[in-house]
């Protein structure tokens, strides 16, 4: 995993002092179908969006906590990065958006039978937020509803 040493000093200090939320009772679910028949969705916190189609994610000062629902046939090369954190180097993500939203890879795994199919939509939000409570209350339920509406069997979250 990424390590503390990679972060600028200001983030090392603030993250160590941050009061992380924790899941008291970790939910557990198993696949209802074999993986080779499962519909799999991707969720990313990279704040990826379609310029000219989706609203962007604002600035760190005026953060947007809503999610973007990206049709899974969207070329990843057409996506822009709306993550407002400056704590990581964007250079590699700019070269290959699959590092945050591996849609191309997931389609390849569907083609070789590893999974059944790619869900029709991927979910994207800006993981750099100072108000996660609002996100959990106002945004997360909508994401769950969308995944259920798409009859997703499993969702893979790529944190950025």
């Amino acid at each position: 995993m990424a390590s503390w040493d990679e972060l600028p000093l200001k983030y090392r200090i603030s993250i160590r002092a941050y009061r992380w939320r924790t899941i008291a009772d970790t939910p557990w679910a198993t696949l209802r179908v074999p993986l080779g028949r499962a519909r799999v969705a991707l969720v990313t916190s990279a704040g990826l969006y379609r310029p000219g189609v989706d609203a962007d994610f604002g600035t760190r000062e005026g953060e947007v906590i809503s999610a973007r629902y990206l049709p899974s046939d969207t070329p990843v090369t057409a996506l822009a990065i709306g993550q407002t954190s400056d704590a990581f180097d964007r250079a590699d993500l700019l070269k290959d958006k699959n590092l945050a939203l591996p849609l191309d890879r997931l389609y390849e795994l569907a083609a070789d039978g590893t999974i059944g199919e790619v869900a029709p939509r991927a979910v994207s939000f800006n993981g750099s937020m100072v108000a996660p409570g609002r996100f959990l209350k106002e945004t997360a339920p909508g994401i769950v509803d969308a995944l259920l509406a798409d009859e997703v069997d499993a969702a893979l979250f790529v944190p950025v």
């Binding site: 995993m1 972060l7 008291a24 970790t26 198993t30 993986l35 990581f88 591996p102 893979l156």
Partner: protein, 59 residues
Amino acid sequence: MRSVAVTLRAPRMLAVPFPFGRALGAPGDADGQRHVLRALLSMLDAPGPGPLLHDYVPR
């Protein structure tokens, strides 16, 4: 970061040895990215209950 993952207690988590912003590995490395996804997907068949935190073993 491992300490954050342990705190958050999500059902299934895969610890990868890559820098921030590169959860799937290196840009353009399709084989490597698929390998990471396969490792993550394999956790769907791992016995519970969670939280499960597995270490990714690169190829």
